[in-house]
C-alpha cells in the first residue's frame, strides 16, 4: 500500500497517550474522503486535541488491547485508518515544514527549487484516503513524506537531495516529527540492506524506483525544461510511495536500518548501488544465475495454493504490462492532442482576425480561446493519466516481480531441504556400507555426519515451513494492499476525469451564446 499507514500503537495500558492524531474510529471510508476533499484548515491548527471524541479512543484501545504482541500483525482489529481533520492538512501541504510543534516554521522550506505541481499535492491526499480504507490490522501511527527535491552540487557530480519527513508516535523513534535529507542512492542502499536481511524470510520487499541514467544526466547537466522537471517529480513521487510501502510493512518497520534511514542525519554513502560498480556487476551475475536455476526448480508441492498463486501473479503481471503499455500510449496521444489543439487554437485566432464580419470574427476568436482552454485541460489530463494511472501500474509491475521473487525464495529453501535430505540419504548409505565392511573408526565419523545432516534436514524443513507460512501471510497482505491501492487510485483518476469534464461543460456553455450571437 502506497500510503502512510496508521497503526494502533501496541497496547498502551490505560491508553493515556491521547495523541490527538490517532483517534477517531472511522469505519466509513467515504467520510474520510469527504473530509479530505473538503479540507482547508490551515496547517497551524493541527494539534488540537479532539476532546469531542473522548469515548471513542477508549474503544479503540480496548480493541487494540486484545492484540497479542507488539510485533503481531495478524490481529484483526478493525477501527483503524482514522484521523482527525487536522491531520489531512499536515500532509496536504507538502511544502510545509513538518515539525508541527512550531507553527511558526510553516513557511516553505528554504531553497526548494521545485514548486509543487498539481500532482504533488494530489499524491498526498491519496495517502489519507488509503488510510481510511485500510480496515486492516496494524495501524501504527506513522507517516512519511518525500518532498523538496533540491539539486546539490554542479555538473556531473551533482545529485538531487530529497527531504524525508516523518511524523510518528511510535516509541522507538527519538522524536515525534523529524526530517532528514537523502539522495536517491540512499534509497537504493536501504533496499539492498532490507533485501539481504529479509528476503530470505520470504518477505515481500517493495522495490525502489528504477535508476535512469538518461533522466539523471539531464538533471545534472542542468537542462531546465519540463522533461527534467517531470522526471524529478516522477522520481520524488515514486520514492515517496516506496517509503510509504516500506513503513507500512510491519516487520520491515521494525528493522533498525529503516529507522536509521528515517532518523539519522548523515548516512554513510551507499556503495554498491552504482550501476557500473563492482557490486553492480556482481548483482547482475547473481541475477542471471538465479534465472537459470529458477527454470529448473519445480516443487512437488502438496499445497497447490502456492502454485496457483504464482500462476495468478504471473498472468496478472502480463496483463498489467499490457495495460501499462496502453496507458502510456494514451498519455502520448493526449500530449499530442494537447499540442495539436494549441496549434489549432492559434490558427482559429488568425482566421477570426481575417474574417470581416465582426460578430463572426468575435465568435471565432472566442472559439480559439475555448480551444486554448481545452489544451490546458488535455495537458492536465495527460499528467493525471500519467502520474496516477501509469505510475500505479508501473509500481505494481515491479511489486509483482518482488512477489515472484518471494515465491522463488521459498522454492530455493525447498530445494535446500531436498538437497539436504538426499545428502542425508547418501550418508546413511555410506554408513550401511561401512557397517558391512566393518570399519569402526570410519563408522564413527559417518555416524557423526549423519547426526549433523539429520539436524540440517530438520532445520531446513523447519525453515521451509516457516517461509511457507510467511510467504502466505505476506501474499495475503499484499493482495489486500494491492486491492485497496488500485481501488483508491482508480477512483482518484476517475475523479480527475470528472473534474475535467465539469470544466469542459463550463467552457462550452460560455461559448454557446457567442456562437448564437453571430448575425
Amino acid at each position: 500500500m502506497a500510503a502512510s499507514s496508521r497503526r494502533n500503537p501496541p497496547p498502551l495500558p490505560g491508553a493515556e497517550n491521547q495523541d490527538p492524531l490517532s483517534e477517531m474510529a472511522d469505519e466509513d471510508s467515504d467520510e474520510g474522503e469527504d473530509i479530505f476533499v473538503g479540507n482547508s484548515n490551515p496547517v497551524a491548527e493541527a494539534f488540537q486535541p479532539d476532546t469531542a471524541n473522548g469515548e471513542e479512543p477508549a474503544d479503540l484501545f480496548s480493541e487494540a488491547e486484545t492484540s497479542t504482541a507488539a510485533n503481531s500483525y495478524i490481529t484483526n482489529s478493525k477501527s483503524n485508518g482514522v484521523h482527525s481533520d487536522n491531520e489531512n492538512d499536515l500532509f496536504a501541504e507538502v511544502s510545509v515544514e513538518l515539525s508541527m510543534e512550531n507553527p511558526s516554521t510553516t513557511a516553505k522550506s528554504s531553497g526548494a527549487e521545485f514548486t509543487p505541481s498539481l500532482t504533488l499535492s494530489a499524491t498526498q491526499p491519496e495517502s489519507m484516503e488509503q488510510l481510511e480504507e485500510e480496515k486492516d490490522e496494524d495501524s501504527f501511527d506513522m507517516e512519511v513524506a518525500v518532498t523538496n527535491p533540491e539539486k546539490i552540487g554542479d555538473g556531473m557530480n551533482a545529485y538531487m537531495a530529497y527531504k524525508v519527513s516523518t511524523r510518528t508516535t511510535l516509541p522507538m523513534f527519538r522524536n515525534r516529527t523529524f526530517s532528514v535529507w537523502r539522495r536517491f542512492s540512499d534509497f537504493l542502499g536501504l533496499y539492498e540492506k532490507l533485501s539481504v536481511k529479509h528476503s530470505l524470510n520470504g518477505c515481500i520487499i517493495p522495490p525502489p524506483p528504477e535508476k535512469s541514467v538518461v533522466g539523471m544526466t539531464k538533471v545534472k547537466v542542468g537542462k531546465d525544461d519540463s522533461s527534467s522537471a517531470d522526471f524529478v517529480e516522477r522520481r520524488r513521487a515514486a520514492l515517496e510511495r516506496y517509503l510509504q510501502r516500506v513503513v507500512c510493512h510491519p516487520s520491515l518497520l521494525q528493522d533498525p536500518d529503516v529507522r536509521e534511514f528515517l532518523e539519522r542525519d548523515e548516512l554513510p554513502r551507499a556503495v554498491g548501488t552504482h550501476t557500473l560498480s563492482g557490486a553492480g556487476f556482481l548483482k547482475m551475475i547473481n541475477r542471471a544465475s538465479d534465472a537459470v536455476s529458477k527454470m529448473t526448480i519445480k516443487i512437488s508441492d502438496s499445497d497447490a495454493w502456492f502454485d496457483n498463486k504464482l500462476q495468478e501473479v504471473e498472468s496478472e503481471e502480463l496483463q498489467l504490462r499490457k495495460l501499462h503499455a496502453v496507458v502510456d500510449s494514451l498519455v502520448n496521444h493526449r500530449k499530442e492532442l494537447c499540442g495539436n489543439t494549441a496549434v489549432f487554437a492559434k490558427s482559429m485566432a488568425m482566421l477570426g482576425n481575417s474574417e470581416d464580419n465582426t460578430a463572426l470574427s468575435r465568435a471565432l476568436s472566442q472559439l480559439a480561446e475555448v480551444e486554448d482552454k481545452m489544451e490546458t485541460l488535455h495537458q492536465e489530463q495527460a499528467a493525471s493519466d500519467f502520474f496516477i494511472l501509469a505510475e500505479l501500474l508501473a509500481d505494481y509491475i515491479r511489486l509483482l516481480g518482488a512477489v515472484r521473487g518471494c515465491f522463488e525464495q521459498r522454492m530455493k529453501t525447498w530445494q535446500r531441504w531436498q538437497e539436504a535430505q538426499s545428502t542425508l540419504q547418501k550418508k546413511r548409505e555410506v554408513e550401511a556400507k561401512l557397517l558391512w565392511a566393518n570399519k569402526p573408526d570410519k563408522l564413527q565419523q559417518a555416524k557423526e555426519e549423519i547426526t549433523e545432516w539429520e539436524g540440517k534436514v530438520t532445520q531446513y524443513e523447519r525453515d521451509f515451513d516457516r517461509i511457507s507460512v510467511t510467504v502466505r501471510k505476506e501474499f495475503l497482505r499484499f493482495e489486500k494492499e494491492k486491492s485497496n491501492d488500485f481501488k483508491s487510485q482508480i477512483v482518484k483518476y476517475l475523479e480527475s476525469l470528472l473534474q475535467s469534464q465539469q470544466r469542459h461543460v463550463k467552457f462550452w456553455e460560455a461559448f454557446l451564446p457567442e456562437a448564437k450571437a453571430i448575425a
Binding site: 489549432f344 488568425m350 488500485f486 476517475l494 453571430i518
Partner: protein, 406 residues
C-alpha cells in the same frame, strides 16, 4: 436568405438522413429540387442515385432518378468552369473524390492482426472500423449532394443544359476520367493560370469593393487552409486517444474476468465505464470533424472558387485595358481601327458583365459563409456540451457506485 435544409428521406445503406452541414441558404424551391436518395459503395467506386423533383417544363417528367458516378460530377463542374458565360459567377466547388483507401487499409490490417487479439477485441475493432467506413461514406454522399443543391439553387446555373442532361439522361454519360495526357495538360494549364493569376492580381483595381475583396479573400483562403489542416490533426489525435481508451477498457475487462474477487469486480465496472466514455469521446471527435473540419474544408474550396472568380474578372479587366491600349494605338496609326474598336467593345462588355454579377456573388458568398459558420458553431457547441454532460454523468454515477462499494 437562410433556408432550412431540405428534408431527407431514405433507407438502407445510404446517407438519407444526413443533414447538410455546410449550406443553409438553399431555397426549398419547388421548381427544382435535387437530392441524392441512395448510394451504393462498390469496390472501387460509389454510385449515387440522383433524384430530381421539378415542375420545369423542359423535363420530360416531374420526378425521376438517375445513377451517377464521381467522374460525372467532375465533368459537370468542369463544364461550368470552362463556360465563358459563367465567368462572372462563383462556380460551386466540385466534391472531393470518395477516398476509402485509408479505411480499407485499416480493415485489412485488422484482418491480418486477427490472431494477436482476443475475439472481443477483434469484434470491437471491426465494428469501429465499419462505423468509420460508414461515416466516410456518408460524408462523401453529402459533399456530392451539396454540390448539386448549390447548382440547383443558383438562378443561372440551374438552367444549364449540361446540368439538365446530368439530371435526366438515364444512361451512362460516358464521361471517362481524364487520361494521363489530359491530366498533364491540366497541370500545365494550372501552372500558367497561377502565374497569370499573380500578374493579374498585381494590377490594382479601380473599384474599392473588388480591391478589398481581393486582399480579403487571399488572406482568408490561406488562413482557412491552415485552420483546416490543423483541425484535421487535432481531431485525429482525439480519435487516437479514444482508441487507447478502448484498449484500456478491454485489458481491464480481461483483468476483471480472471477472478471474482472484490478488485476484479471493481475492474469490470471501470472497464464498463471506459467503454461508455470511449464511445462518447469517439462521438466528440466525429462531431468535431463534421461541424468544424468539414466546414473549414468546404470554405477552403469555396474561397478558392471565389478567388477564381476574381481572377477571371481581373483577367477580363486586363484584357479590357489592353484592348483600350490597342484601340488607341490603332487610332494613332489609323490602321485596323474598326477591328480594334469591336474588340475593345467586346472586352468592355465582358468585363462589365462579370463585374456586375461578381459583386452580387461575392456578397452572397459572405452571407452564406456567415450563416454556415453560425449554424455549425452553434451546433458544435451544443454537441460538445451534450457529450461533456453525458460523460460527466457517466463518471459521476460510476464514481458514486465505486465509492459506495469500497
Amino acid at each position: 436568405m437562410e433556408g432550412e435544409p431540405s428534408p431527407r428521406s431514405g433507407a438502407g445503406f445510404h446517407q438519407g438522413s444526413f443533414p447538410l452541414a455546410v449550406n443553409v441558404d438553399l431555397q426549398t424551391d419547388a421548381t427544382l429540387q435535387v437530392d441524392i436518395s441512395d448510394a451504393l459503395s462498390e469496390r472501387d467506386k460509389v454510385k449515387f442515385t440522383v433524384h430530381t423533383k421539378s415542375t420545369l417544363p423542359n423535363f420530360k417528367q416531374n420526378e425521376f432518378s438517375v445513377v451517377r458516378q464521381h467522374e460525372e460530377f467532375i465533368w459537370l463542374h468542369d463544364s461550368f468552369v470552362e463556360n465563358e458565360e459563367y465567368a462572372g459567377y462563383i462556380i460551386p466547388p466540385a466534391p472531393p473524390r470518395p477516398d476509402f483507401d485509408a479505411s480499407r487499409e485499416k480493415l485489412q490490417k485488422l484482418g491480418e492482426g486477427e490472431g494477436s487479439m482476443t475475439k472481443e477485441e477483434f469484434t470491437k475493432m471491426k465494428q469501429e472500423l465499419e462505423a468509420e467506413y460508414l461515416a466516410i461514406f456518408k460524408k462523401t454522399v453529402a459533399m456530392h449532394e451539396v454540390f448539386l443543391c448549390r447548382v440547383a439553387a443558383h438562378p443561372v446555373l440551374r438552367k444549364d443544359m449540361n446540368f439538365h442532361v446530368f439530371l435526366e439522361y438515364n444512361q451512362d454519360l460516358s464521361v471517362r476520367g481524364k487520361n494521363k495526357r489530359e491530366k498533364m495538360e491540366d497541370f500545365f494549364k494550372n501552372v500558367v493560370k497561377s502565374a497569370d493569376g499573380v500578374l493579374v492580381a498585381g494590377v490594382k483595381d479601380v473599384d474599392d469593393f473588388f480591391e478589398h475583396e481581393k486582399t480579403f479573400l487571399l488572406e482568408y483562403h490561406n488562413r482557412v487552409k491552415d485552420a483546416s489542416s490543423k483541425s484535421d490533426r487535432m481531431i485525429r489525435s482525439h480519435k487516437n486517444a479514444a482508441d487507447d481508451i478502448n484498449r484500456i477498457a478491454s485489458t481491464l475487462y480481461t483483468l476483471g474476468t480472471q477472478d471474482s474477487t472484490d478488485v476484479c469486480k471493481f475492474f469490470l465496472k471501470v472497464s464498463e465505464l471506459f467503454e461508455k466514455t470511449r464511445k462518447i469521446e469517439a462521438r466528440v471527435a466525429a462531431d468535431e470533424d463534421l461541424k468544424l473540419a468539414d466546414l473549414l474544408k468546404y470554405y477552403l474550396r469555396e474561397s478558392q472558387a471565389a478567388k477564381d472568380l476574381l481572377y477571371r474578372r481581373g483577367r477580363a479587366l486586363v484584357d479590357y485595358e489592353n484592348a483600350n491600349k490597342a484601340l488607341d494605338k490603332a487610332r494613332a496609326k489609323n490602321k485596323d481601327v474598326l477591328q480594334a474598336e469591336t474588340s475593345q467593345q467586346v472586352c468592355c462588355q465582358k468585363f462589365e458583365k462579370i463585374s456586375e454579377s461578381a459583386k452580387q456573388e461575392l456578397i452572397d458568398f459572405k452571407t452564406r459563409r456567415v450563416a454556415a459558420f453560425r449554424k455549425n458553431l452553434v451546433e458544435l457547441a451544443e454537441l460538445e456540451l451534450k457529450h461533456a454532460k453525458g460523460n460527466l454523468q457517466l463518471l459521476q454515477s460510476c464514481v458514486g457506485v465505486l465509492k459506495g462499494d469500497t
